[in-house]
Structure formats: C-alpha cells, structure tokens
Amino acid sequence: MARDKIYLEEVFPSPFMQLWSGFRKTPVAMLGFYCFMFLVVLAIFSPIIVPYNPIDGNLDMILLPPSWHEDGDVSYLLGTDELGRDMLSRLMYGTSLTFGLSFVVVIVSLVIGVVIGSLSALTKGIKSSFLNHCLDVILSIPSLLLAIIIVAILGPGISNTVLAVAIVFIPQFIHITRYAVKEEFRKDYVLASRLDGASNFRILYYSIFPNIVERLMSQATLVQSAAILDIATLGFLGLGAQIPLPEWGAILANGLERFYIAPWTVYLPGLAILFAVVATNLVGEGIRHALKLRKES
C-alpha cells in the first residue's frame, strides 16, 4: 500500500534536528563544521595515510624548509625537523593525538559528569549543599593548574595527561547537568509524566535528556577547545606527550631550540593548534547561536 502522505501532517522535528536546521543557516558555523569534520577524518585515518613515518627520521634530510621555500623539497611538503622527520606526517599524526584525544577527554568527562550531575540533581538538603560547595572549590581552581597537579601525581605521559584533563573537566559537566536537570524538573511536562507514574530515572532518560542534550553539546565544544589547549600546553611544558610522540604542543616545544634557524618547526604546530581550536569554537558558536535562534522563535 502506498504510504504517500495525504494530509498535511505537522512534522515536529526532534530538538536535535531543530538545532541542526538552525545551525545550517549560519555559513560561518558550517565552515567551522567542515573544518571540524576534516580534523575528525584526519584524526581517524592519519596513522594510515601519513606519507612518512612520523617517528623515524631521514638523517639525509635534516631541517629542510617547507616546499614553497627556495631550499625546500616537494617530497617534504612542510619541511623536516632536526632529525629529518617529515613535518607534515608529524602534524597529521599529531591530529589523532591532540585533537583525537581531546575527543576522548570530552566523552569520558561528559559521561561521568552527566551521571554524577543527574544523580546529584535528585538529591536535596545538606548533601546537595555540601556537594555544591565542593564543586565550587574545584571550579574556582583553574583547569590547567589542576591538570598540572594531577600530572605531577601520576607522572608525565600522554595517557596520564588525558586522564588528568578528563578529570579536570568533570566538575563542569556535573555543574551544567545538575543545573539543567533541576531546571527541567520544574517544568510542566515533567509534572505530566510524573502524574503518569513515571519514576525519576524514567523521566530523566525519556523526558529530560533529550531536552538538555543540546546544552550539553554546547558545553562539550567549549570543553573540547579547552582540552585541546590544555593537552597542547602540557605537551609544551614537557609534562604531557613524551619524546618522540608527535603531539602538537610537544612538537612545538621540540622545535623551540631551533626557533631562529628553522622557524617552521614552531609556526606549523602552533597554527595546527589554532586551526583546531578555532574550528571547534566555531562549531560551538554555531550551536549556541542556533539555540538562541530557537529560543527567540
């Protein structure tokens, strides 16, 4: 039987689809989104598609400038570093480290933060107030400082960096989830399903989460851009990725010694970080803009 729609049905898109349609209307946000997707693809496939091994150098090709420079070589598009490692390969591989790991950070802290946040939203009284105070204390310590301390406890290394940065961002998600859930709980539609006899968890899962997911997403992009910067900063300070991993911050710190003779080893990783953070922030801006449009409409 044909399932053509005969009636003019009112289609009611999910909040997520509403957000997407609002998002698509801003060209700058879409540009950011394409850049972001490009980085995601690069982060997944870079270990396969890198032209050279990012860790083993070619000692005959030391400190080669980028190919547009008169001394450059086309086969090394972005030049090489002091051990003859191809900069392009290192930067591509670094995408999966710096950018890719920031994803891991966001997912880990998002999941833990949302679970704790929604549980704590259901608590009341002294317990809630105590939790709030503790959260305030942690939130008032800057994330990077806290991450540095955690790395100091765990010892330097890329996995410890990811762990530290993830831990540091959990309170932000707890805070926003808690706030959002509490706000939603006061709304009428929750009351309606409560009258239907739904349990707290059922309300949380079926009614509230779909309605706060976009707020969480907007927070997630904020956290991700901060996570990229934090991972890179820790790498730059020598506390994150260790030799010879091509994490962007670590590449930059490594190039520092040759800043004046091979400036591209410092410019390029810096630009890569900037690019990734701007792309993430543009997506975040786009989401927030779309949210605002939806609220206003």
């Binding site: 105070h133 204390v137 008032s140 400082l145 851009s225 900063t233 300070l237 911050g249 701007v278």
Partner: protein, 342 residues
C-alpha cells in the same frame, strides 16, 4: 551586609580547609615517604626522621596528622624545597609578589581593552564592527598562549628590538627586596638609578602582561557585550531615551555604569583563569614568579614545593575571588541577598 560578610567568610574558610585537605592528601598521593613529602627533608638521618615523624604526628591517627600538618601551615612552615633545601615559605614570599604584579597588570590591560571593545560591539550590535570585534575575540580566545608569547618575542624583542624578552628588570639594576612588587621596591629604593630602573621594569612587564591579557580580554569583550546588550534593552534605558537624553548621555551616564556592575561579578573567575595563563607565560618570559617555580618543581619532582605551591596559589586565587565579591556586593546591594551559598 553583615550576614553577607559572615556567609562569605564562612564559605571562604570552608574552601581553605578543603584546599589544605587536598594539599595534605597530596603528601600521601605523591611517591615516597609522606613525612618527607610534607617536610621536604631528603637527606635525613634516622634520628632526624624519628623527630620529624613525631613533629608531624605520623604515628597517630590520620586526624591528628592532619592537625599537625595544619598547625605547621598556620605557623608559616611549609617545609623545605627538596631541590634547593631552602625553606619554601621564603621562596614563596620572594616569588609570589612577582606573579601578583604581573597578573594584576595583565588584568588591568585585559579589562581596559576588553570592556570598551565589548561596549562598542554591543552599541553597534549586528553591525560590521560588532562582527569584526567578535571574530577577533574568537581568534584571541583560540590562540595557544605559549605560541603567542613566542611570536611576540620574535616580533617585538628580536625583530623590532623594542621590548626586552625576559625577566622582570635588567639585572644591572640592583633593587633591594622589600615587598617583592618590583615597582614599589624601586620607588622605595635609594638607588641612584631609580627612575631608569622604573622605566626598565615597565618595558619588561609590557610584553608578558599583554600576552597574558589576550585571552581574558576576549572574555571581557563577550561579557561586556552581553551585559551592555541586556542593559540597552532594559526599560529604564527606554525611559531615559523617552526623556530625551542624548545617546552619549544614555551610554555614559546609565548604560556603562549598570553594565560594569554586571561585569565585575565575573572578574574573580576570570582572574583565576588569568593566573593559569600567567603560569605558562612566566615560563616563556623567564618571569621570576611562582608559576615558573611550580612548573620547575614538577620537573625536579620536588613534591613539597608542588604541594605548598598549589595551596598558596589557589588560596591567592580564592582570596581575590572573595575580594572581588565584596566589591561587587558593595556596588550592588541586590547581590547581598540570600541566594549565595546555595
């Protein structure tokens, strides 16, 4: 105001206690012997170690240990640095003022650049200048600070030769340590080169302070823009306009004042953010502050220094927070209400 003060103070003390608890537990979390992590004395004989164990109540229960640790902290005894074997309280007293100086100057720059730009953006809401300012803010917010610092040195110190690249003051000048805030010390000193030293110190602070200020300035742009847009939409502005006040009168007499109050509330949080940025910047500009010291302590695995450095730095941040809250409450009676602490 009294209840407000009491409320804030009790919260402040609670926060400090949580922080000391955190720093106390770090002594257990770090590798090595807890009592050595607390005291920092690495080359101890058996007798000295026994004495330390006694002083820190290590043979008693954990609460008594914490009590002993607290009493050490309150007596200003943070132990010794494992790396240099000098008292940490002394090192902190010499280094913290440099960080305070740098971050306050940076905060000043961030506010004096960010807030007016935000206002301009808000007044020209949805126009070209608004978009330009917002894009700049986005860019400034996204730049990794260590990279920006390096570019600034390359451009201003090496390329143009305008500003020095490292340190607080040229080492030729001998300024006696009084407060640790370089500018005050220079003014207090009786050096024959006082004014030259003052100028030299000013040129040294410009570059690092500006680099630190970039990211917070962009946040101030956003904050002040949002605040101004809200204020301009408020009914009292419409009323003022209806009264026939000119645009500049409305902006300067009413809007700015009310928008500023909204911004001040956020200064505390931004200051915390700024201090972290300052830590990294201190490393790049060889600024003799506590941030660089803390990061170097991590390189040295100097656990006593990390523990105390964290405590002091976060206490400083939280005290600033409190201070700014008081200013805010003094300016805005509405903020003294009960909603705090919940």
């Amino acid at each position: 105001m009294l209840t407000f003060t009491l409320r804030r103070l009790s919260l402040f003390i609670f926060t400090l206690l949580v922080l000391t608890l955190l720093s106390f537990s770090l002594g257990f979390l770090f590798p090595g012997d807890t009592v050595i992590n607390h005291s920092g004395q690495i080359n101890t004989t058996a007798a000295e170690l026994a004495h330390l164990n006694k002083v820190y109540h290590m043979d008693e229960n954990i609460f008594s240990q914490y009590g002993a640790y607290l009493s050490h902290i309150f007596n200003g005894n943070f132990g010794q640095s494992m790396a240099s074997q000098s008292p940490i309280s002394h090192e902190i007293i010499t280094l913290l003022p440099a960080t305070i100086e740098l971050s306050l100057v940076a905060l000043l720059i961030a506010m004096s650049v960010g807030i007016p730009l935000g206002f301009i953006a808000a007044i020209n809401h949805n126009k070209a200048s608004d978009n330009v300012i917002l894009s700049l803010a986005m860019l400034g917010y996204s730049i990794p600070v260590f990279w920006l610092g390096l570019l600034a040195i390359l451009f201003f110190s090496i390329g143009l030769g305008w500003l020095p690249s490292a340190g607080q003051i040229s080492l030729l000048f001998e300024i006696e340590f009084v407060t640790g805030i370089q500018f005050i010390d220079i003014l207090l000193s009786d050096s024959p080169y006082k004014w030259q030293a003052f100028r030299d110190a000013s040129t040294h602070i410009i570059l690092p302070a500006c680099v630190i200020a970039v990211a917070p300035a962009t946040i101030f742009i956003r904050l002040s823009r949002t605040a101004m847009i809200e204020v301009l939409a408020a009914s009292y502005i419409r009323a003022a306009r209806a009264k026939g006040l000119s645009f500049s009168q409305i902006i300067f007499r009413h809007a700015i004042r009310n928008a500023l109050i909204k911004i001040i509330r956020h200064v505390g949080l931004q200051f915390a953010n700024l201090v972290t940025i300052a830590m990294v910047t201190e490393v790049i500009f060889s600024w003799p502050g506590i941030g660089r010291w803390l990061i170097e302590s991590i390189y040295h695995r100097d656990y006593t220094a990390i523990q105390s450095g964290l405590l002091v730095l976060s206490c400083f941040i939280i005290s600033m927070h409190l201070f700014i809250h008081f200013i805010y409450a003094a300016l805005n009676p509405l903020a003294r209400g009960n909603k705090y602490g919940s």
